[in-house]
């Protein structure tokens, strides 16, 4: 108990003695965390936007005008039975024309030459989240092409391929940049904590001379490293949140999300937890390694 009180006293004493060094270390580490946090937020938002676009991917199964009601019902049931299919939505000829007119409002004269309704009725088929590859779409399309009552089947193969490629690229780039930034965070915090440890070199030597064990010397410095890491990660979250709130009031930023179903969001709770856990952990690891040099028994 006495020793624990000593460790805490030493930690507080050291904070008080090295106020500016500690503050400098917290702010400079926080700066690195802010860069990482900014990237993670951007990445998650971007990923969400692209994932939202995926929900718009559909297979259009155009029906012949002559299809009987029972064939139409049978086709709908067979589509629903496919393991890849999430939903099947029937769009009648009338609804198709209405949608088409709505989409091409400024070109009303296009319809003047037509008598009646030239558009076919169709099924809008959505696939489940895990079946979004170009092969999955082709598989369904090929299976139902030529079925009785089916005029044609269409899905934007190039669009599906391009979207999947973009999402894969974002994922890979995200992992790569996050990895580089994480290494940057570890290195920077390691250097900063190392500087703090160097400033205590003399004190560590004295403790060694009076018979202090390794852990007696290490404990207050590890506590300090952990505190430093926690404070810098915490401060970075506060700064990031403040910037996020500010940007959310800023029209050019908000307009980036217009036309998507996504609303800009901050780090989810699990990411906040990762920051707050890895902050002190990195601080402790950062203190641990430089200490080894000073704790060598024999010169």
């Amino acid at each position: 108990m006495n020793t624990l009180i000593h460790f805490l006293k030493e930690f507080l004493y050291s904070l008080n003695q090295n106020k500016w060094l500690t503050l400098g270390a917290i702010f400079s580490s926080a700066f690195i965390w802010v860069i990482l946090g900014f990237f993670v937020i951007t990445y998650l938002n971007l990923f969400e936007i692209y994932s939202g676009l995926k929900e718009d991917l559909k297979i259009f199964v155009y029906l012949q005008d002559s299809i009987s009601t029972s064939d139409q019902k049978g086709l709908e049931n067979r589509l629903m039975e496919e393991k890849e299919v999430l939903s099947v939505n029937y769009v009648s000829k009338e609804k198709a024309l209405l949608d088409f007119r709505k989409a091409l409002k400024s070109k009303e004269d296009l319809f003047q030459d037509f008598d009646g309704n030239p558009l076919p009725s169709y099924f809008e088929v959505r696939l489940k989240q895990q079946f979004q590859s170009s092969e999955d779409f082709s598989g369904i399309a090929d299976k139902f092409k030529g079925n009785r009552g089916v005029e044609d089947i269409f899905f934007g193969k190039e669009w599906v391929d391009s979207l999947n490629r973009t999402i894969r690229f974002i994922q890979l780039m995200g992992i790569g940049i996050a990895l580089v930034l994480a290494i940057g965070v570890i290195t920077t915090i390691g250097i900063i904590v190392r500087l703090a440890v160097y400033s205590k070199e003399e004190e560590i030597q004295i403790l060694k001379y009076i018979g202090a064990t390794e852990w007696f010397i290490k404990a207050p410095l590890l506590i300090e490293g952990g505190f430093l890491g926690f404070m810098s990660a915490g401060l970075s979250l506060v700064l990031l949140y403040a910037v996020f709130l500010f940007l959310n009031q800023y029209p050019p930023f908000v307009s980036l999300f217009s036309g998507t179903s996504v609303k800009a969001f901050f780090l989810p709770p699990d990411f906040v937890a990762y920051f707050l856990i890895s902050g002190p952990l990195l601080g402790i690891i950062g203190s641990f390694f430089p200490l080894r040099k000073y704790l060598k028994t024999f010169s």
Partner: protein
């Protein structure tokens, strides 16, 4: 108590700084280690303090061969030795009390025991009224006494001092000597490495002289003795 047998130490291959060192120091003895600068006095103290390992030979301290001591056992061994440095090695921003108490904190003593022992030891070196001052605000002589108090506060059986009067004038050096004699009178073995010949002559204690890597022993005012 302390026995060096056939101890060699070098920093280059086949070039020994200390050669075939053999001597014995009895419990409660006061011994000076003398020799010119670079003769090997500090190296010998470092070996005795387990900061360096000898290349050859054995060193028995209270029956334990410290030449073979495991690194993990070194902190516990050092608790039996008080070390007084020429440059004092104090934490200047901390108070006199805190500097001395540090040697007891590593032993995990209670706050009450620490207060009592530090108080007694500061009284012994005449600094009981300055315990709350920062070491930064003390004179060189006072800092030296804090260093002595820190070395003696846990009553170690051995005290080593490396050029302890290097930064003190003659009067303060004599006062320092009298403090060490008081501590010796309580049964502590004292080894002082110095090239202060006046101090050695005043002290009239046994001298181990290091010359060209060899140890030669004689009384402080006696004639040159035989190799040990």
């Amino acid at each position: 108590m302390i026995q060096f047998s056939g101890v060699y130490k070098g920093y280059r291959p086949n070039h020994y700084h200390l050669k075939d060192i053999n001597f014995t120091i009895e419990k409660g003895e006061f011994v000076f280690l003398t020799g010119s600068s670079g003769a090997g006095k500090t190296t010998l103290l470092k070996i005795l303090f387990c900061e360096e390992r000898p290349d050859q030979g054995n060193i028995l301290v209270q029956g334990q061969n410290i030449a073979r001591l495991k690194p993990s056992a070194v902190p516990y061994y050092r608790r039996n030795i008080g070390f007084i440095f020429q440059d004092f090695r104090l934490i200047l921003q901390k108070t006199v009390f805190e500097n001395v108490a540090l040697a007891l904190r590593v032993l995990h003593l209670s706050q009450g025991e620490i207060r009592k022992k530090v108080g007694d030891t500061l009284a012994l070196v005449g600094l009981e009224f300055k315990k709350d001052l920062k070491c930064l605000d003390l004179s060189g002589g006072e800092q030296q006494r804090v260093c002595i108090a820190r070395a003696f506060v846990n009553r170690p059986p051995i005290i080593l001092a490396d050029e302890p009067t290097g930064n003190l004038d003659f009067d303060l050096s004599v006062h320092f000597l009298s403090l060490l004699k008081d501590i010796q009178a309580r049964g502590t073995t004292i080894i002082v490495a110095t090239h202060n010949r006046e101090l050695v002559e005043v002290a009239k204690k046994r001298v181990i002289h290091i010359k060209e890597g060899h140890a030669v022993s004689h009384a402080s005012q006696g004639k040159s003795g035989s190799p040990l």
